[in-house]
Amino acid sequence: MNDTEQDRRCWDRVAGGDPAALAEAYDRYADLLYSLARRIVGSSSDAEEVLQDAWLQAWRSARSYDPARGALGAWLVTITRTRALDRLRSMGSRRRGEAAATVEAASDPPPRSTDPATGYARRALRNNVATAITALAPQQRQVLELAFFEGLSQSEIAARLNAPLGTVKSWTRQALLKLRERVPVEALP
């Protein structure tokens, strides 16, 4: 049974109201979602709140997840990112600055590794991801990060970078396709 099939079966049980299945999904995705939330909101305490809200929302709306429309991981990422950006906006610009500084200073332990094979697979995937991100042109990386982690619209990004809107759209698409090409799709959660 591959990871996608395992996810589908697990989420079927979540949709049926099985808390143990949610715990299973949590153990698989919580580190990824928490790390994403921290990148967006900055502080670990805000990220914890985001993570908790995101999982409770996923539980409440479990039946709305449709495997035909995408992977479970992508669905959970969307929920978490939306929650994190909402929180970021509610924090205001002053705390955002503080939060960014907190992220740089924080140094809690890296994700747990359940067994050697999983640990190795995760390290290999992280290396692949880091290499793919580094290989992007600086403007392409900046466009993706401003949109994804800061929630800026493409018009806002164009204004921020003093670049034509059409160019920003083009950079966005090219950059996403490059990332997709450089990391094997079967490796993604």
């Binding site: 890296p110 698409r173 996403l176």
Partner: protein, 271 residues
């Protein structure tokens, strides 16, 4: 039908990134509703790219307290927000023996107790057998656990070395392997991915000593090219300085001490 235009691909990218505005959402939805295989495919690819981006921040361990809070909230039902199925109706509680049916139920219960007494000795015998079987299973699991601990120690032993096997010029960039080698126990664990050999070929692992290579066997990966291999008696031909992987015919090299195909991965032991 709205004809496909390049602008639709930009809308797909904005959606995958979660930054598509309402007007864009409406336009893309209308276009997709009429069926555009190119945009559907594009959305899948772009979603993969967005997932890579989501994984790019430094990774942190999610606090255990959050897990506990989420599960407690679900368990209490306070956060579920889910509606019960209409067919599930909670019945009011009352004493089970109340009413005329109570007497019949009480009689049935007495008969059940009597039958239970008659068959008690059978259950005892059966439980004794089950206990013996369980004990045997426990012993077997304990032995298996001991063995697993010995293998796990390969990675944590004080003298253990991690060897990264990098693709050579004859290999492809998709080949990735990491080998943990403990000289003291002369055991190693190999984790590899991207091992998808061409038809009628196989990858073979080699230990390189001062006297030359020694085959450690053909590495059989799963359908996705991933392999986890346990290796023993690595240094039977002397101290190992490096490990290599060659691409061989399906049965491996005919010579146990010489690869017959190109060496596609190589990693030296440091220290």
């Amino acid at each position: 039908m709205s004809r496909h235009r390049d602008e639709h691909l930009d809308l797909c990218a904005a959606r995958a990134l979660g930054v598509l505005d309402e007007a864009g959402q409406a336009e893309l939805n209308a276009h997709l509703a009429e069926g555009c295989a190119q945009c559907e495919r594009e959305l899948r690819d772009l979603a993969g790219g967005a997932m890579v981006l989501a994984m790019s921040p430094p990774q942190h361990q999610a606090p255990a307290a959050v897990r506990a809070r989420v599960l407690a909230a679900i368990d209490s039902g306070g956060a579920s927000g889910r509606q019960q199925d209409a067919s599930v109706v909670a019945l009011p509680r009352r004493p089970w023996h109340a009413g005329p049916a109570g007497a019949l139920l009480a009689a049935a219960a007495l008969i059940a107790v009597a039958l239970a007494g008659v068959s008690a000795w059978r259950r005892t015998e059966s439980l004794t057998r089950e206990l013996a079987a369980t004990q045997a299973r426990t012993d077997s699991l304990a032995r298996a656990l001991d063995e697993e601990r010995r293998w796990a120690a390969v990675m944590t032993a004080p003298g253990a070395r991690t060897v990264l096997l990098a693709p050579t010029t004859a290999g492809t960039a998709t080949l990735v392997a990491e080998l943990h080698y403990d000289r003291a126990s002369d055991r190693a664990l190999l984790f590899a991915q991207g091992l998808v050999p061409p038809d009628a070929h196989a990858y073979e692992l080699w230990a390189i000593t001062a006297t030359g290579p020694t085959s450690l066997g053909v590495v059989r990966a799963d359908a996705d090219g991933r392999a986890v291999v346990r290796l023993e008696r690595i240094a039977r031909d002397g101290a190992v300085a490096a490990f290599a992987v060659s691409l061989e015919g399906s049965g491996g090299s005919p010579d146990h001490h010489k690869p017959s195909g190109p060496v596609v991965m190589l990693g030296k032991i440091s220290g």
